[in-house]
């Protein structure tokens, strides 16, 4: 088995206080490995997104720890966690969250700009990644002029432009029709996943389960079971 990219240990998260306290994640432990495409699935409110936020350094757990490449992220300062997210994690949000006033190339270049890389160089690299996701001709357009599938690809380019080890996808097919959704996930698996990268996808879209290496099913804040999916082939 490949080395663990992410190791979640006894994660607990609750919201509210007193009688209103609700546990979103209850003592969850798991590992995600390099070269693996892990799906976290389950119904709405099962704690998938909360778990995803904790392992990506966005939401501090109330108990437990997350170890990424031997670093315990919740022992870091806020600035260190921000640097960790910038350098180690790539995000694709459910609604993409692209800046409508920036061109696609500028949107993709944002992580590089945040790393203080030269603007022109960052744009050139962003254009290269847009080419990788098949949007070479769309670099100068704003996201508003792109279809949903194309916007998803821009978001993917933005997530991978900084060459992160861990890629986090939140409901990547939620806004796409079935065919486009499958094409996107197929593209992710074939073009983005490699031995030095771990991809974690939160979804409840059963149409794409076939692409998972492993499927972790959540319910009421707990992992109910883990299923080995299709094996990733190099």
């Amino acid at each position: 088995m490949a080395a663990a990219a992410v190791k979640a240990m006894g994660l607990v998260k609750w919201f509210g206080e007193g009688d209103a306290r609700t546990f979103a994640v209850k003592d969850v432990s798991f590992e995600a490995h390099f070269g693996e495409m892990l799906f976290i699935v389950g119904p709405s409110g099962s704690g998938k997104t909360t778990l995803l936020s904790m392992i990506s350094g966005i939401l501090r757990p109330d108990a437990g720890e997350v170890q990424v490449e031997d670093r315990k992220i919740w022992s870091m300062t806020n600035d260190e966690i921000a640097d960790f997210r910038l350098n180690t994690v790539g995000f694709v949000f459910q609604d993409y969250h692209l800046f409508p006033r920036l061109t696609t190339a500028e949107n993709v270049a944002i992580p590089l700009i945040l790393r203080r890389e030269n603007w022109d160089d960052a744009i050139k690299v962003a254009e290269t990644y847009l080419e990788i996701v098949g949007l070479k001709e769309r670099t100068g357009l704003t996201p508003r002029k792109l279809s949903g599938g194309e916007q998803q690809r821009v978001a993917i380019a933005r997530a991978i432009v900084g060459r992160p080890d861990i890629l986090i996808f939140d409901e990547p097919t939620a806004s796409l029709d079935g065919d486009t959704g499958r094409k996107i996930v197929d593209f992710i698996k074939k073009e983005i996943l490699n031995d030095r990268r771990c991809i974690i996808i939160v979804t409840h879209d059963g149409r794409i389960y076939e692409y998972a290496d492993r499927i972790m099913q959540m319910e009421d804040g707990k992992i109910m079971n883990t299923v080995q999916g299709a094996l990733h082939e190099e």
């Binding site: 909360t50 609604d95 890389e117 690299v125």
Partner: protein, 387 residues
């Protein structure tokens, strides 16, 4: 790929902030218009006030004497209280006084060649020294000693004298007057009346006067260190000696605090500030709200709180400075156009006006960005995930 260090490291982040701001053209235009309009009103109001204050002390500026002796109750040059002649002798006897001369200043009516009457300001200069005389642009200053001689000031009010030539005659209290020259002065008067210079003796001879005739005593001290001593000695005899700057300040305070003018201008300036703050504050707040999720996404990607803070501050500063520049430019243009049609238009843009408007714009930008900063810095990236 090159990583940029030092101050340049922020350029990329600032460029994103700039593009986010300016690419949203309708909002950016609304922000700029709001601030420019507020700056325009603020600078316009304060410029008119500065212009009025400058005109109110024009006689003091134009005469140029370093120390002015007057009755303590005098508020402005226009409402002078005549002093007896012994005051002049007393001032001349003070140690440190190089010389002291009388000055007469009063309003009068002249009958012009066409037969119409025109209000004028007559300034009577000490005949032996002509201390405080203006620079002549036409004619010889020695001619002021000729019979009935007057010098007309060629300022914005000059045309009201029916564009006289050298030798043009007029009547002043049944006395014949003759224009022997034309002068230029630094500042035109406030009350829209032409100014005539003559000798002190001719002025009090032509214009009906009270028992005392000296409006002001102009003093030239031997050196600056003597001024305080002169002021103390003048105070001892019951009068007031002020430097040019002190007198100008006194006139300004009178118009600011005792005429209602200052209060009205202040109210208008505050209203302009509130209008600017409302427009730009609300627009900037809407701008931030619309981009809140996007800022949250940047934060999730790895931007630090202080980087978002810098982005918003940059956007607010850029908007404020652009609006400020446009507002000042617009105001300057309007004043220039107004002067083109109304040469005596009393408005003057001073560094103080610009400074006040700048401070107010900084406050507007500060408040606007504070609202935005709170919204953005407090955003939890987790909210972006939750959608």
């Amino acid at each position: 790929m090159k990583e940029v260090r030092g101050g340049k490291a922020w350029l990329g982040i600032l460029r994103i902030a700039y593009k986010l701001l300016t690419n949203d053209r309708p909002k950016f235009a609304a922000l700029i218009v709001g601030i420019a309009f507020a700056v325009f009103l603020m600078v316009q109001m304060t410029s008119i006030f500065a212009g009025i204050l400058g005109r109110a002390s024009s006689t003091v500026t134009n005469i140029g004497a370093r120390v002015w002796v007057m009755d303590p109750a005098v508020k402005t040059v226009a409402n002078n209280i005549p002093m007896p002649d012994y005051v002049l002798d007393a001032v001349r006897s003070i140690d440190g006084v190089k010389y002291a001369v009388p000055l007469y200043s009063s309003g009068a009516l002249v009958r012009l060649k066409s037969g119409s009457y025109q209000a004028v300001t007559v300034v009577g200069l000490d005949e032996s020294s002509l201390y405080g005389r203006p620079d002549l642009v036409e004619g010889n200053v020695e001619d002021i000693y000729a019979e009935n001689a007057f010098i007309a000031v060629r300022d914005a009010e000059f045309s009201k004298l029916e564009k006289p030539q050298i030798g043009t005659e007029f009547e002043l209290n049944d006395h014949r007057g003759v224009i022997i020259g034309f002068a230029k002065v630094t500042s035109a008067g406030l009350f829209g009346t032409p100014t005539l210079y003559t000798t002190y003796k001719r002025a009090i001879q032509y214009i009906p006067s009270s028992r005392y005739t000296i409006s002001f005593i102009l003093v030239e001290p031997k050196n600056n260190a003597d001024i305080q001593h002169i002021q103390e000695q003048v105070r001892r005899i019951g009068y007031l000696a002020q430097t040019k700057e002190e007198f100008v300040g006194k006139i300004a305070r009178y118009y600011m605090f005792q005429t209602g003018l200052g209060t009205n201008i202040l109210i208008m300036t505050v209203v302009s500030f509130i209008v600017g703050l409302s427009i730009s504050g609300q627009t900037f707040y809407t701008f931030i709200l619309e981009n809140r999720e996007k800022f949250g996404a940047i934060k999730a990607i790895g931007a630090k709180g202080h980087e978002l803070l810098v982005m918003i501050l940059f956007q607010a500063t850029f908007t404020a400075l652009t609006g400020y520049g446009l507002g000042v430019g617009l105001c300057s243009l309007l004043i220039a156009l107004a002067r083109f049609r109304l040469p005596n238009y009393a408005a003057s843009i001073t560094y103080l006006n610009l400074g006040i408007a700048f401070i107010m714009v900084v406050i507007i930008a500060g408040i606007s960005s504070c609202i935005g900063i709170r919204k953005v810095v407090n955003i939890e990236p987790f909210e972006i995930f939750r959608g």
